[in-house]
């Protein structure tokens, strides 16, 4: 497997809390890789580490053979032109129309003539099915449309890598189906390396070639979707099958119930 992204023994803490305790992940080039895990397990943090927005305490993060955490500010900003990222909120610029949002990266990074920018913007919007919405403002879009426009913007410069941060969160079934199809089609048609962070197991496993599950600051399971379904770890199976109790307990750690409720024999 030829890796596009490689994380080796990454340790990362924030506000005194250890988020990753020696995480190692290999993300293959040209494939869809799903990073899954319970809420608060650090999935979005992992994307920010890959994008160089956060620095690890120790360990190595290589993206396209570049040590992303060691690049200088100018090199890092130049390198990010190869990346696209779809944020959970879409993160569209609220003072720009749909058209101008998609045109933004081209206006900043290229000196293409206006008619060429127009053609590319319309092609990208066509790819996400929103060519007709180009005059709308972000406030006039639904949540799903917002993310599709953000997706069009993130592929405007034809990146090599695209990262999706919880793309299915808060989507209705149709919107979710559209996004699943778009992620799959874009990856195969553009030859992108895609990293998908989600806790929507069914949708993620349906389009990914490779997946890993993160919990408790480490990778608890990795492999193809079929391999994960057969994974021996109880914690992996609890997550994949959505069981309310198991290695991850239903109850948050608490003192004995008898003591809390003041029942006989419980007082200490």
């Amino acid at each position: 497997m030829h890796s596009y992204i490689s994380l080796k023994d990454v340790v990362f803490s924030r506000s005194g809390r250890r988020i990753f305790n020696g995480v190692s992940v290999e993300i293959p080039r040209g494939k869809v890789t799903a990073i899954m895990g319970p809420s608060g397990s650090g999935k979005t943090t992992l994307l920010r580490l890959i994008g160089g927005q956060l620095q690890p305490d120790s360990g190595q993060i290589m993206v396209d053979n570049q040590p992303i955490s060691k690049l200088g500010r100018t090199e890092l900003y130049a390198f990010r032109r190869k990346m696209g990222m779809l944020f959970q909120s879409g993160a569209l610029f609220t003072d720009l129309s749909v058209y101008e949002n998609v045109a933004f990266p081209m206006r900043v990074h290229t000196s293409l003539p206006e008619d060429m920018i127009r053609d590319i913007v319309l092609m990208k919007l066509e790819a996400v099915g929103l060519r007709g919405a180009r005059e709308l403002m972000p406030s006039e879009l639904s949540g799903g449309m917002n993310r599709r426009v953000a997706l069009a913007r993130s592929i405007a410069l034809d990146p090599e890598l695209i990262m999706y941060d919880e793309p299915f969160a808060g989507q209705d079934p149709i919107g979710m189906g559209v996004l699943v199809k778009l992620i799959h089609d874009l990856n195969s048609s553009m030859g992108l390396t895609s990293v998908l962070v989600s806790h929507d197991v069914k949708e993620s496993l349906s389009i990914c070639h490779y997946a890993c599950i993160i919990a408790d600051g480490k990778v608890i399971g990795a492999g193809t979707p079929a391999e994960l379904q057969e994974h021996p770890s109880e914690q992996v199976q609890q997550f994949l099958q959505g069981q309310p109790d198991g290695p991850v307990p239903f109850h948050y750690p608490s003192p004995a119930a008898a003591a809390d409720f003041g029942l006989a024999g419980g007082a200490s």
């Binding site: 927005q53 900003y77 990010r80 032109r81 696209g84 993160a91 609220t94 900043v108 913007r153 993130s154």
Partner: protein, 260 residues
């Protein structure tokens, strides 16, 4: 007692850390000057938002402050039979002090709070992060034009404030209370020195503009990206800017007009 000392020390440390972060932030903004082709349109847009949209409050406030100065000045000076000096009094008060200071306070309340809220919301809605991930430095694209716009707009607004105030004082002193118009303008021309009074007043407003804009953009960029965080940052912008302006005004006045 020990707890109090520890708490005092902690507050001092936090203040120094915060000042250090703000200085690094400022260095980053000043270092990353945008290219003229892309930076100038952004600067113009911010000059409109920060400067032109502040004109209404500046003009109305300047007019009323000038009129109040006219009324108060006439009442006090007429006791000594010196009401002819009202033009001189209004002009010196406005050009040296009230013009720069009141404009800066109004600027912090209108434009400074708007800058903080706008940048804070951009942070909360991940617009700044998305910009970073597109390879666009938000310090250059978002922060620098707003900082420079505040720096440029403030002296211009202060000059307009003083001019409107002087005109408002004339309306009351000359048109209403009957002070001879020749005395109003003549005494003003004889006593207001361009370098000592006007230029020093403009220097003050340049300093206030820089400090107010710096505080506003830093508070927005550094805020906790939640509704409570943005609210707190906006309040801090107005409070810190007002205190900084009043404190700096004392220092600058002592240096410029102290004659020690």
């Amino acid at each position: 007692m020990i707890d109090r000392i520890a708490s005092f020390g902690r507050s001092g440390t936090e203040l120094v850390v915060s000042l250090g972060r703000a200085s690094r932030f400022l260095a980053g903004v000043l270092w990353g000057v945008p290219r003229p082709a892309t930076g100038f349109p952004l600067l113009l847009k911010q000059l409109y938002s920060v400067g032109v949209l502040s004109l209404a409050i500046i003009v109305v406030s300047g007019l009323f402050i000038g009129m109040v100065l006219g009324l108060q000045g006439y009442t006090i000076l007429s006791d000594f039979g010196s009401e002819a000096a009202i033009g001189q009094m209004i002009a010196l008060t406005l050009v040296r002090e009230l013009g720069p200071v009141v404009t800066a306070l109004l600027f912090a309340g209108r434009a400074g709070s708007a800058l903080t809220a706008e940048i804070g919301l951009m942070k909360a809605t991940e617009q700044l992060s998305s910009m970073e991930m597109m390879g666009v430095d938000p310090l250059r694209r978002v922060i620098a034009p707003r900082l420079w716009a505040g720096f440029i707009a403030m002296p211009v607004l202060a000059i307009i404030f003083s001019m409107v105030g002087i005109w408002g004082g004339m309306l009351v002193g000359v048109e209403w209370l009957g002070v001879f118009e020749g005395s109003y303008w003549g005494n003003m021309q004889a006593s207001v020195d361009f370098w000592d009074d006007v230029v020093n007043g403009v220097i003050k407003s340049v300093v206030f503009g820089f400090v107010c804009a710096w505080i506003a953009v830093y508070q927005g960029y550094d805020c906790v990206p939640t509704s409570a965080g943005i609210s707190s940052a906006t309040t801090k912008t107005v409070v810190y800017s007002s205190l900084a302006v009043l404190g700096l005004d004392f220092v600058l006045t002592a240096v410029m007009f102290g004659n020690f």
